[in-house]
Structure formats: structure tokens, C-alpha cells
Symmetry: C2
Subunit: 200 residues, 2 copies
DNA sequence: CATCTGTTAATTGTTAACATCGTACAGCGT
DNA sequence: ACGCTGTACGATGTTAACAATTAACAGATG
């Protein structure tokens, strides 16, 4: 059931994003196309594409003719604000779309939840953070929020860089399970309430 | 004083964005790398980069191995919501940073305002919409809101596609002038108030 | 007649070579 | 010693050729 990325660009982008999230690269350091290209065993092209993409997702800062730099996490004040915007977007989309979720889309949400559970069992904070985001993203897609996805991802990328909330993995899973249940029942109000309890 | 883009990619991206905004391409139609590359007299590489970038800015939808499609403008309900988020971001950034604006940055805001005025004089709605956005962007940069820029741009790109508010060009300029004045005085509260009166 | 399959043309994905830009640094002049 | 300048190096920017994928279609097959 795993959705394997087809193109090299996607693979490089995903791998790089994971590395960024797990703190493999120091914030403020420059990334070199050649070095990463040889590490992944590909040419500079896809790495370049990934740089552009990740710059737009907010992980990297692009400097013409000089390369990309790993961005610093947002300060606490901005982080708080970003979180509130994120909640607003999810609330908006879920409120509008939770009552008419396609069964197929819902199934994908369930798959995401299962993966999150698996990640919680392993106890690796990095993986949990990723699965967490993927679960919320699946919800947005299920509720027909594709139009909001770009802006939402921007905000999430800035947050993930400071993700440190997973001290109790069992609870992390439970919170998300409690988002899924009302969504499966087509209850927007309860879903939104669960989301607001989860994101903080 | 005009900031000429140095790289071909930037030029192609900007030109394409302008074309998209002025409705040169029909919503839902596919864009081909070769066709645009030959139109701009460059190779496919930079066009490809521009496609990735504009996809992330929200103008295009990317389909692997099949190309990019011109996106539809958001529905009125989403548009309204997007507007409110945009106001929130600008309010947040200006509130925090308007009191300590660097003189150099402020000068750039003024330049943007002058350009907006020039666009208003020409009466071309497309140009006005672009300059409008650039003015607001300059304010965000001046107030130290680089961290929010990505998310903000995402939202703006979705709005611009339905920009039709310019029936009175003189007033458009005046509204922005009344944003600039309190900003130059370092008055966050009044600046925010003027912004809220302008964005709707 | 509907469906499946193999071919084909068109388009995107990837690569490696070449062009250009920016930085560091040695050498010169003051 | 200080500052300027030119040069060399390493990096990104761009290009064109080649590979892989997709969608459409003709023809075979049930």
C-alpha cells in the first residue's frame, strides 16, 4: 500500500526533507549540489529541483549563484502564531468538507493513522513527526482542501523544525485516533474540536 | 532602481507569472516545456525550474510525467477565508516590526509605492494587481517578516487570480499611501488599521 | 462488438558537458 | 602595514542529447 515516489526528484526531495527534519544538517549551513548528488548517486539536476522545491516549502533559503542554506527554526512567538494559522486552515477545510468525505479518501486517512501508530510504536520522534503531518494532510485532502494545501504545508514545514512535543507516544496516537473517529462519522464539529485539542 | 532578475530562471518565472495573472493561459489548460522554452528563447531547464516554482506558489498544478496545468481560481468562500488569513499574517508581522524598520528597507517600500502609483496612472489592472502585491511584500520584508513570506505568497497567488477590485485607481493608490505614512512614522497600530481597510 | 495488447509519437525525466558567477587569496603598489 | 587588483578555483546556471514514461490508436482476440 506504500506510495513509492516514481521520479528521482521526488525521492531526493523526500530523503532530503527527512534529513532536514531529523536535524542531520546544521541550521545555517550551506548545502552543495555536487556533494548531495554523489551521496544519492544521481546527477545535479534532480538535486537542484529538490532545492527549489524545499526552498518553497520553507526548509531552505535560496541564494542565487551561491546555493541554499538550511533555515533556522522560527522564534517561539512566530511559532505560536504559525500554529494558530495552521489550526484555522484545518478548521476551515474540515468544517466545509467533513460531512461529505469520499470513502476512498477516508481509507487513505485510516492508512495514515495506522502508519502513525507504527511510528509511535518505534518511538522515533522524527518518524512520528513526519507521520503526524501526513495524517493531517490526508485529512485536508479527504475534506477537499487541495486549494489550501500549499499554504498549509508552508506553515507546517516551519513548525516541524522545532517539533519536540512527543514525550508520550501513546497519547500522541490516541489524540489522532480521536480525530479520526468523528471524521469517519462525518461529524465536522467534533472533528474540529479534536484537532484543536491536538495542535498546540 | 529597477531590480533586474539576474538568472534566466528568474526572468522566465516572472514572465510566466505575469502571463498567468493576466489570463494569457486558460485555466485548466496544460503548459508544455518545449513550447515555452522556444518562446522565451531558452532551453527547457529554466522553464522546468519555473514550473516547479510556480507550482509551489499555487499558480500551476504539477502532474508527474504529464506536465503542469493552469489552476482554477479559488471559489468565493475560500477566497474570503484566504483573505482573512492574509490580513492576519500582515497584522502579525507589522505589529511586531513596524516600530523598528530599517531606513533602507523603508526606502524600498517607498519605491514600491511609487511603482504602484505609476501602474495606477497607466490604468492596467494586471499591472496594478502585481504592484499592489509587491508593495505589501515590501512592507513584510521591512518589518522583518521573511519567515512568513512563503506562506503569505502562497495565499496571495490564489487571490490574484481573481483580482477584479480596481474600479477606482486613484483610490487604490490613496489606500496604499495611507498604509505607508504611519509605517514611516513607526506606528504599528495605525499601519495595521490602514492595511485592514485596504485588504478586503 | 467489446476488450485487450503491442506499437508509436509526443512529452517529461535525467544526465553530463560547458558557461558563468562569486569568493578567496596572492601579489603588487602605495 | 594597508588597500587594491587580478587571477584561480569552486560553486551554481544553462544547455542539448539521451532515457523513460505516458496516452492514443491500430489490430488481434475472445
Amino acid at each position: 500500500m506504500s506510495i513509492q515516489p516514481k521520479t528521482v526528484r521526488e525521492q531526493v526531495t523526500n530523503q532530503l526533507r527527512d534529513d532536514l527534519l531529523s536535524g542531520r544538517f546544521e541550521a545555517g549551513s550551506m548545502l552543495r549540489e555536487i556533494e548531495l548528488a554523489s551521496r544519492f548517486g544521481v546527477s545535479r539536476g534532480p538535486v537542484r529541483d529538490a532545492f527549489i522545491q524545499l526552498s518553497h516549502e520553507g526548509y531552505l533559503a535560496y541564494y542565487a549563484n551561491r546555493g541554499v542554506m538550511v533555515r533556522q527554526p522560527p522564534n517561539p512567538e512566530d511559532r505560536k502564531f504559525i500554529t494558530s494559522l495552521r489550526v484555522e486552515i484545518e478548521t476551515h477545510v474540515v468544517t466545509r468538507g467533513a460531512a461529505s468525505v469520499d470513502p476512498g479518501e477516508l481509507k487513505l486517512v485510516e492508512v495514515s493513522l495506522d502508519r502513525l501508530k507504527a511510528a509511535c510504536d518505534t518511538g522515533k520522534a522524527t518518524h512520528i513527526a513526519l507521520r503526524d503531518v501526513e495524517f493531517h494532510e490526508a485529512i485536508l485532502v479527504a475534506c477537499g482542501g487541495e486549494d489550501m494545501l500549499g499554504a498549509w504545508r508552508q506553515l507546517c514545514s516551519r513548525m516541524l523544525l522545532t517539533y519536540t512535543r512527543h514525550d508520550n507516544y501513546a497519547q500522541t496516537y490516541r489524540e489522532h485516533f480521536e480525530i479520526f473517529t468523528p471524521l469517519a462519522d462525518g461529524d465536522p464539529k467534533a472533528t474540529v474540536a479534536a484537532i484543536k485539542a491536538n495542535i498546540r
